[in-house]
């Protein structure tokens, strides 16, 4: 035991490895693993058939489709427009640039309920923006997607920005000298460099949107089978003091997001391998 310890210590360049690793493990266990294990613990109080019945109920299944669908679309839109915003912020100089740069983070700082109420006011049928559309936005899946775009925007911008900043312009110049047009330069030289960051930003925005409750609940309309998001179903279960039912749906969401994150990580690894050599 002692020997082993010494070995690690000798290998490590930085002092305090034992202490900091111990702290890391304790911190992660207390704050991440323990709460997560409670979810599985509550769920384990159900029998398999009960669990299955709860998670495949038609209303719940509809809500998965909505939650995952809207989160996916919102993350995709954020991936596209997040890159454009990052591009503008890094590549161009214009007055008020610092201000816009700061505004990007605002969705992080704003309490989500406030965001939800503000968005609903804007997009309701008699709202400032809502009145100009011939179709309904608030209280439909479109409204939900807008709320999710709002809360997920900073992720992509903040992931892509530093990569663009560190990007060597010589590469672009080289590509231009070799005869590539602007589109080719973007697609073959710049985009592959950005792709891992875009994918990470996408994954973060997607994960954040899946669990979002506060802002969505106001704009959703909460109609069962139509605009009911999964977190709301979890809340309704809690309202019936059905802790096990609530946690079993949470487990499903957790596992699905885990699979998706795993898949996204795989894609990142693949894109690294394909483009980085």
């Amino acid at each position: 035991m002692k020997k082993k310890n010494r070995k690690i210590k000798r290998l490590s360049v930085f002092p305090g490895f034992g202490l900091s690793l111990g702290f890391t493990m304790l911190y992660i266990s207390l704050l991440v693993l323990l709460p997560l294990s409670m979810i599985f613990f509550y769920t384990s109080m159900m029998s398999w058939s009960e669990f299955w019945e709860t998670i495949v109920e038609p209303r719940v299944v509809e809500s998965y489709k909505l939650s995952f669908g809207a989160s996916f679309i919102a993350a995709c839109i954020n991936a596209i427009f997040g890159v454009i915003i990052a591009w503008v912020l890094v590549r161009y100089q214009f007055p008020g640039k610092k201000l816009i740069d700061g505004l990007v983070d605002l969705p992080f700082a704003l309490p989500t309920a406030v965001a939800g109420i503000a968005l609903t006011t804007l997009y309701a049928e008699n709202g400032w923006l809502g009145q100009f559309f011939s179709f309904k936005i608030a209280f439909t899946p479109i409204g939900i997607t807008i709320a999710l775009i709002f809360i997920g925007l900073p992720f992509v911008v903040r992931m892509v920005q530093p990569v663009l900043q560190n990007f060597e312009t010589e590469l672009e110049e080289a590509s231009a000298i070799l005869g590539a047009n602007r589109l080719q330069t973007f697609l073959k030289v710049i985009f592959p460099e950005l792709l891992p960051a875009i994918i990470t930003g996408f994954a973060l925005a997607f994960a954040r949107a899946l669990g979002e409750y506060g802002s969505v609940i106001f704009i959703a309309g909460n109609m069962p089978m139509k605009t009911e998001i999964t977190p709301l179903i979890i809340m309704t279960k809690l309202e019936q003091y059905d802790y096990t039912g609530a946690t079993s749906i949470a487990v499903v969401m957790l596992i699905m997001s885990f699979i998706i994150l795993l898949f996204i990580n795989g894609m990142q690894w693949w894109s690294n391998k394909k483009f980085m050599q």
Partner: protein, 349 residues
């Protein structure tokens, strides 16, 4: 690096020690001085009673000091009724609970044994010092001419009500509609369900709470009629203007009984049993009843109710115990998963 790290940890440890030390000291003081000087009770309530208890607490503090010479501080906590009950179950140390549904207090009694199961018989009138009912709020002039529950089933009428799955108030709304249909169709269950389901087909937005539904109706301008607590309807009119809305009283509604109870075990532990009991009893006094009426809750006291007849017109009111067999039964039949409310929204098999 190493020095700063150890320094950091020693500072952190001493901070923690000091903090915990302070804490225990303070609680000790609280216990010893509890009976005499610093009396403090926590009233865990639901959303729309905020104004009511703010006024009531002032009066009670005066009353208690006059009676016993003790100064008492009252903390209020407000939120959704079910959420508040869950907080108490999970360890929020409430001396008294004043919630929207008896079912929520039942749940505290059943899961944590914090008070006796027969708590509701301990105070007069089912432990509900004030009542309310469900009425309609419509836009000024009543453009869709809504007079009764039947009008809510018409095709061109848009209804706003919160989701009974997440809101206690919404459950009263649902049951009130059910009670009307029950009378109309003489207990024919399929027809009642059809009627209620027609109303809910007209619902455009199911907000998660009663306040949210009020906002949707009043500020977003959605819907022709809001099904609401009577006190909530009065509040919206008072705050947003008599020129914009009016209240329509249906022929039949439900007697909503928001109950109150002392959480015995916690009050005993904190040494506040006596004052907590007196606090709730004071709700039944003339002063308490008067404050309830002023805040648009129907007082139990007949004489005081008479004083406010303009405000509270007579309606035929059914009760949850007689018509629905108590909260437990109503909850199971209508609102739990697989209940009648789910039937309305699930695709027909």
């Amino acid at each position: 690096m190493k020095v700063t790290l150890t320094k950091f940890f020693s500072v952190a440890v001493s901070v923690i020690v000091i903090l915990t030390g302070c804490n225990t000291k303070e609680t000790n003081q609280d216990v010893t001085a509890g009976d005499k000087k610093k009396l403090e009770i926590l009233n865990v309530s639901y959303d729309p009673t905020r104004e009511l208890y703010e006024e009531f607490n002032q009066e009670f503090i005066k009353y208690w000091e006059k009676e016993t010479g003790q100064k008492v501080a009252i903390q209020q906590s407000h939120g959704g009724s079910g959420k508040q009950a869950r907080s108490v179950i999970d360890g929020l140390e409430a001396d008294v609970v004043t919630l929207a549904l008896a079912g929520d207090i039942d749940e505290i009694a059943n899961t944590r044994d914090l008070l006796q199961k027969d708590w509701q018989s301990r105070l007069e009138h089912n432990s509900t010092p004030y009542t309310s009912t469900i009425v309609f709020l419509v836009r000024k002039g009543n453009p869709k001419n809504i007079q009764d529950w039947d009008d809510l089933t018409k095709e061109n009428v848009s209804v706003i009500t919160p989701n009974p799955k997440t809101s206690g108030g919404a459950r009263w709304n649902y049951l009130a509609a059910w009670a009307y249909a029950k009378e109309k169709y003489h207990n024919d269950e399929t027809k009642i369900k059809e009627f209620v389901s027609k109303i809910y087909k007209n619902v455009e937005v199911l907000d998660s709470g009663a306040r949210g539904a009020t906002t949707t109706f009043v500020e977003r301008g959605l819907g022709d009629v809001l099904i609401a607590w009577e006190n909530e309807a009065f509040l919206s009119i008072n705050e947003l203007g008599k020129e914009e809305f009016e209240i329509v009283v249906p022929t039949i509604s439900i007697l909503a009984e928001p109950p109150v109870a002392v959480v015995d075990k916690i009050a005993k532990k904190k040494g506040t049993a006596e004052v907590a009991e007196a606090y709730l009893k004071f709700l039944y006094s003339d002063t308490g009843q008067e404050i309830a009426a002023k805040n648009y809750y129907r007082p139990r006291d007949e004489n005081i109710l008479k004083k406010y007849t303009d405000q509270f017109p007579e309606i035929k009111l059914v009760t949850i115990d007689e018509d629905f067999g108590g909260w437990k039964k109503a909850q199971e039949k209508h609102f739990n998963d697989g209940g009648t409310f789910d039937d309305i929204y699930l695709p027909q098999k």
